[in-house]
Symmetry: C2
């Protein structure tokens, strides 16, 4: 994951991860992504019931990607998103499970 | 805890708790408080090695108190702080342990 877009697992910072998760829209995004698995961003926004503009949702994706919480890849005309579950579990054991256990 | 200064445990919101923890100074404060137990705020700031102004530290205490993470009480001329560990564990099982397990 040394593509310049995604921090390496060794670079993940707890305060930054918590700050990225500390927004209701981003928290709902992460919880939906955990439920759905890899999703294109248009479908994810609809399935998560995220009532916000495309540009706001894009901004949230960027914050989550830069904190190391999700991975984005381009596939055709779609942006495919996945939760970096293994990386988060390796770096911050138990954190993601605790966050996902509480309904947003 | 219905004193108007501290949210009841039923009112704690995950996104707000995560946002409050998502700052290096506040995270260090919480980790020091977990280690020290109830502490007056002057000693806590020194023991945590928090190199910031008193007013910045006061602001961080307020954010943590309003999110439901710490409890403040006045004792003589001191403000005594405690982590609301039981309330956080009741509402968000595993979250605090995961946060405290990672060095700030």
């Amino acid at each position: 994951m040394t593509d310049g877009l995604h921090p390496d697992v060794s670079e993940l910072q707890l305060a930054r991860v918590l700050a990225a998760l500390g927004d209701q829209g981003r928290l709902t995004t992460v919880q939906a992504l955990a439920r759905l698995g890899e999703s294109d961003c248009t479908r994810l926004q609809a399935d998560a019931g995220l009532d916000m503009s495309r540009s706001t949702f894009s901004h949230h994706q960027k914050v989550l990607r830069e904190a190391g919480i999700l991975h984005a890849r381009i596939h055709g005309s779609q942006r495919m998103l996945t939760l970096r579950r293994d990386d988060l579990n390796a770096r911050f054991p138990g954190l993601l499970d605790a966050v996902l256990a509480t309904p947003a």
